[in-house]
Symmetry: C2
Subunit: 326 residues, 2 copies
């Protein structure tokens, strides 16, 4: 474990333990299979990043109400719900090095457990009694569904533009991070300027986080992540490293790259060849630069708050988003 | 068309037209495929029963706010979302005589469009600004997901009890009807007694409606409904006519019935043989009686209101629930 990760985990140990308790206590399904499947996706090594963001941002807003842990799990349930649905949608067989829920219990049960987790998020949101929080949650759900559908529609299309890619990751990832940070300001009844700053932090962190995640497909040992080699491409997902390199390449190299990408049964050597093209045409570097720029924006947004322990942790989390390997 | 249906439709013509407009105007997806799939499920001959119930109950509560049509579509979007997910879950190929969405656009797109419609329902619920309405919607979603999972878990189990069947149909159908009627009282800020009466009406109507729907599999020409012969059984769904008859039959006949049911590839003559058993052992009659009793309870609940045109229509709707053929 990196020094940064150790430091963050050490600082948030108590918060994480309370988040875990809230995750278990609020699940309460009446049907056993729901408990099993929801448990499989919820308690299999998730980082709890989204609830943690909310809890940390609530501290920055001097929230004292005692409900931050409970409300923070809205974002983990939403996240788990979309993971369940996305794995069905993508036909992904593995998730965090374990079999995906739908490959163990079938797509039907995975879809319905996702629906249950969505309903549970909404129920907790309703408990806040705060209409702006409920609106934020409904906007997140709307954006995530539409972002995923957008991605699905353009599956396998080698003409996906950078603008479309950015719109997809904004909707499917950044809006949830942004919402988690915004809701902390809402429960704390913080000034509008604070809410905007925290929402900006969440948005930029989410964009960088997804870009870093997309980069992992081309920079890390997939096996170490419990992933298939070139998993995104095999699912027909073009991400920024590829989009940029395809645009930068000359005709001949682009045609070769397109030939590799179009055949989703590509071999490991073909994939390695593609990665060389991505490096040569700057796709990897460009994506890192973009992700870095978002991290800088996230830090700028959070820098407007007084120095404090939670602020420092959020700064560390921003740095960690680019350094993580899983 | 039956005289009763003609009379109801004539009385609610204007309301239905306004509900249709609201259904179109509130959909507004940014992604074209969502519009296509949501349109396919929403605009393919649905009866709009759930929004209509809300609008009629709002009239009974003397609601004058002008938002009843807009809020009523929450229940049609929720209904459409669950139809999309259920058809994926059941692998049903047809819906209202047309190909099911997932068989045209794939399970992935159908799941995500369902998610979008759930999100849209929630967004409209949030617009009411009324926490009790939002809680009702979240309870509906929770119940529907858990009811469907319960049904899925017990798929093909010939030991499903009547109590379990009742619990499943309560959650997957009656809670939505109940919610639509309850929310009308909430937007009208009606007295608690009115809310309870309308919720009771919706609950009993929903129970009867689902029983009548389950009976159609054994009493009507499936082709006329755009259904497969014995569709429920082929999907492994045991409903009340079968559950009751299995319990009432002697060992030999029960074993024969179980043999037919257990082979989901049963022939048409085998299915007809089963239907004869259901009749002989009172499964059909018993289910009709139960459905009738719920309709009587629904009417009793609504009878506590002053006589009025909407009250008469709700009485007619209750009668129609048992007479409909689709």
């Amino acid at each position: 474990m990196s020094e940064l990760k150790t430091r963050i985990l050490d600082m948030v140990k108590t918060d994480l333990a309370e988040i875990e308790t809230a995750l278990v206590e609020n699940l309460k399904p009446n049907v056993e299979l729901v408990s099993t499947i929801a448990g499989h996706i919820l308690f299999s090594g998730g980082k709890r990043l989204r609830p943690l963001l909310m809890v940390l941002c609530a501290k920055i807003c001097h929230y004292q109400g005692g409900y931050d842990k409970t409300f923070s799990i809205i974002f983990e349930y939403l996240h788990a719900a979309t993971l369940l649905h996305d794995d069905v949608v993508d036909g992904a067989l593995m998730r965090r090095g374990k079999p995906a829920a739908h490959s163990l219990w079938g797509g039907a049960a995975a879809v319905l457990t996702g629906d249950f987790l969505l309903a549970r998020s909404l129920a907790i949101a309703a408990e806040t009694g705060n209409i702006r929080i409920i609106r934020t949650i409904s906007e997140i759900t709307d954006n995530m569904a539409q972002g995923e559908i957008h991605q699905l529609m353009r599956k396998g299309d080698i003409h996906l533009s950078e603008a479309e890619y950015l719109e997809v990751i904004r909707r499917k990832t950044a809006v949830l991070f942004q919402g988690a940070c915004r809701v902390s300001a809402l429960i704390a009844d913080a000034p509008q300027g604070w809410e905007t700053a925290l929402a900006d932090y969440g948005f930029h962190l989410g964009m960088a986080f997804q870009m870093a995640d997309d980069l992992l497909d081309y920079t890390e040992d997939s096996l170490a992540l419990g992933k298939t080699v070139g998993a995104d491409l095999k699912e027909g997902k073009l991400t920024l490293p590829v989009i940029y390199a395809l645009k930068a390449a000359g005709t001949k190299d682009r045609q070769r790259m397109e030939a590799i990408i179009s055949n989703t049964e590509f071999s490991v050597p073909e994939f390695q060849e593609l990665v060389e093209y991505l490096k040569a045409y700057g796709g990897i570097d460009y994506t890192w630069q973009k992700a870095n720029a978002h991290i800088e924006s996230a830090k700028t947004a959070i820098a407007r708050f007084e120095p404090s322990v939670p602020r420092e942790i959020l700064m560390d989390v921003a740095d960690y988003a680019l350094k993580r390997k899983s």
